[in-house]
Symmetry: C2
Subunit: 582 residues, 2 copies
Amino acid sequence: MYRNHTCGELSKTHIDEKVTLAGWVQKSRDKGFMIWIDLRDRYGITQLIFDEERSPKELMEKAKILGREFVIQVTGTVIERVSKNPNIPTGDIEILVDKLTVLNDALTPPFTIEDNTDGGDELRMKYRYLDIRRNPIRENLIFRHKVTMSVRNYLSELKFVEIETPYLIKSTPEGARDFIVPSRMNVGQFYALPQSPQTFKQLLMIGGIDKYFQIVRCFRDEDLRADRQPEFTQIDCEMAFVEQEDILNTFEGLIHHLLKEIRGIEVGKFPRMTYDEAMRRYGTDKPDIRFGMEFGELNEVTQHKDFNIFNKAELIVGIAVPGGNSYSRKEIDKLIDWVKRPQVGALGMVYVRCNEDGGYKSSVDKFYDQEDLTKWARITQAKAGDLICILSGDTIKVRPQLSTLRMELGERLGLRKPDEFAPLWVVDFPLLEWNEETQQYHAKHHPFTSPKPDQIEMLATNPGNVKANAYDMVLNGNEIGGGSIRIHDKDTQALMFDYLGFTPKEAEEQFGFLMKAFQYGAPPHGGIAFGLDRLVAILGGQETIRDFIAFPKNNSGRDVMIDAPSTIDSAQLDELHIKLNI
Amino acid sequence: MYRNHTCGELSKTHIDEKVTLAGWVQKSRDKGFMIWIDLRDRYGITQLIFDEERSPKELMEKAKILGREFVIQVTGTVIERVSKNPNIPTGDIEILVDKLTVLNDALTPPFTIEDNTDGGDELRMKYRYLDIRRNPIRENLIFRHKVTMSVRNYLSELKFVEIETPYLIKSTPEGARDFIVPSRMNVGQFYALPQSPQTFKQLLMIGGIDKYFQIVRCFRDEDLRADRQPEFTQIDCEMAFVEQEDILNTFEGLIHHLLKEIRGIEVGKFPRMTYDEAMRRYGTDKPDIRFGMEFGELNEVTQHKDFNIFNKAELIVGIAVPGGNSYSRKEIDKLIDWVKRPQVGALGMVYVRCNEDGGYKSSVDKFYDQEDLTKWARITQAKAGDLICILSGDTIKVRPQLSTLRMELGERLGLRKPDEFAPLWVVDFPLLEWNEETQQYHAKHHPFTSPKPDQIEMLATNPGNVKANAYDMVLNGNEIGGGSIRIHDKDTQALMFDYLGFTPKEAEEQFGFLMKAFQYGAPPHGGIAFGLDRLVAILGGQETIRDFIAFPKNNSGRDVMIDAPSTIDSAQLDELHIKLNI
């Protein structure tokens, strides 16, 4: 061992002890007659001291030439510091060094190894191994480890079994976003990397493993939005002989436990909200309920006048921005521009200033009187001093637009507090989703998701309204988990395929293997999967998942550190019996 | 919840309780007036009873038509059994059913769901989800979970951080056995799946994470020997600021802990043996030291006579088979045939019977007298009643041949006891390995493995004899883990590349990225990786890793259950800009 203590543990109680430390030179201050060096390792920083009076000349000379990030080993005596540093645990002491060994020198790093570095994103990613030396990234990775240990121990206590499912699986026709892997031994054939272990966890249920989980990598070859990764980690879970209520209770328990153990926070029973209610009140299926600004639907109190934009709109809906009346005209104009950006997509915004005197001033005063505006204020729960922002148009468009505005204003107003945690369940998701492109209904979750038993017949008459036994767990405006109760009997399954427009042949081709397994005694079952990267980031009070992944990829799916993906030589392609087609 | 008890937990203390159970019909005995059903779930078996006198007629009728593996839910009263079954925990009771719900019917399974099934390997693999219902496989998977939890908790306690490294990495020129993955977003470029996270764990050390581990999937596209898998799981570990001794102690602690916690076995300090000694005494670098039959080298006592086969051999070496003198001539001939099979490859075998009267009878009595044979017996530690088996030839061939014979005989003699655990460290592995094909030395481990510091200069004069700071952990004749101290300074590294015959340009091309990282302050570091699949199998007292993997592949790398790999449609290939070349 190159050390007998770490750089984070020495204190006054160690004074006069002889110690050996090893680590990196964080910084060096050379006063000529005296040199201080901050020595850093994973655990902290300890100050080393060399001085003319107490240190041999050769040692002083050796200390003088140490550069930033040199790796050194020192032996010396713990002494009390003259000027203490109350900001670090080792701030009372320093080491009077009597032996110094340079274990490795170092080039000057391309950015400072400090909490607030001068390195930009690309540079930090390119030298990720140096970025990881910085406290925030290192602490994030250690935090992630704590979370996964806590998850594993909690589920394990509840008799869940972690079972590894294969990474080299089969590509399915609907797996358009599968990464595929040519097989050398099976010429012309390919494996696929799993987008999730869905099939395998259902097979484990059929196999009698009634409580399964796995912290597992998943892969999706899709165009990456900001903060998505082509490989990501899920906490994947499934249970047999359960109903929706059992799943909700079990995994509410898990998140409860994590918030308590990891953050020391007790939250009460999670509120539940139907999908329809979430859409109505917040315009999204993943509402951030840490703050209000709930939607007020204004159709009834806006469509009686000559304002055509509202009159032809399917939905007119507003939110009250607390204290928003203080915004200048210019600020409001900027807000209107903001919602008109293509990323939001609104055509315009109507606003109402709620004056301190109880009166209202709106951008549509030509059409509406104080009596109208008073109703609007009541419905949006606006108070004197607030600003009401109103969007209108097709429900399917206007809700996400106003939700985006609500989240943005919540952020600007400091209402999205990183240390506050407001989980909720969103339940009763629609079973089907209308696909504009194919002009057909598709399964929103997957075709094995169970419809509400009493709504199966509605599939024939009003498919879009049929709800599923499907649920999401939402935390601070993020979907952190989602799942469903699966169909386990073949009659319901056949009915579903029929309604979804599959011929028996198509169903057989695409899902035959799993359907066959279902014939050998499938128990009722259901599950949930949590996005670990996001969950960890949110628990850490942040939203950038990249800072919680050791070696993330950029938005083009590239690892800029190792420069992957990359071309490979033709001999290797030959051996796999494939060639490029470009 | 479909149940309030499991099928493994009811006993006399529950008598008269009303309970609800759910599970699979294991078997059914219909005596006409009385029906017994064994209901099975993950936790055990509980007997259900229906009888003419106490059960309604409809219920009896319903119970009569239940087939094997039907999934049912029953409610009933716990009653004491008339004829108890002391072999199962629930054997004192049965359930007098008053409600029966068929949750799912089942086709007759293609093999019996019993501990000793009638299903062959292929059939079991094809219906693996049914195979998993069998106790031995299910218990193996649960056992594996226990082992991984124990590993994680132990290492976590020691401040190791589990960090997930990427699965989509870069293919390297020497990565001939890489699985590659075409990237859709980066046309003409490929990721590779990692053969191990070696590079990343070394980068984490450079990044200041001084104790890393990961239970991680690794991939190797090679022709599969029996009991190898194209994807396998490693316990991958690395530490910084350590020397070999620290790694050995830390991970000896891990295996110690596992043996104690998982098997209740205390083993003492692990013996250590150099590679050279292991080869000399057992003919292999992974000796099974649960039994003796050590090699006796006989050159000095055999090459003084006219027996040419021995005289021209590089090595003459024998083992004493305990009690082997009882073998008939026919049995010995079969043994000789066995060592001459191509899988072993010996050209012949000389044997010596050690008679009970102290005399010897050998197959080479023409050449050697009793005095010679007495010496042979002394060197091979043969006793009266034993059989000495002697092979001769080139050292490099004859050692593995005799080792194979030793293991086979150890097995046949019952000396390889599954409940006995004899771990050891094999240390001081050679740094280099001679490659017949390229007529060059290659790094045995990888080119970053550190040579013994005092032997670096010998690289120039006698490279084959240079030893490395490399070690294997061996358990019961299996290599369960291996690792090394890495080179961390660039001078030694440059020297190594030079000796290995790399030009600076080649070294840069193949290892440039990691060498660059090494320039920014790499600490001394080293590590080890354990093969989890094998470790779990051995801890479970078995040697077939396939029985400890939920969904294994066969020797052609196929998953016969999901039928992967498989062809994919041309549209998908087009989108990836590749085409088949067959």
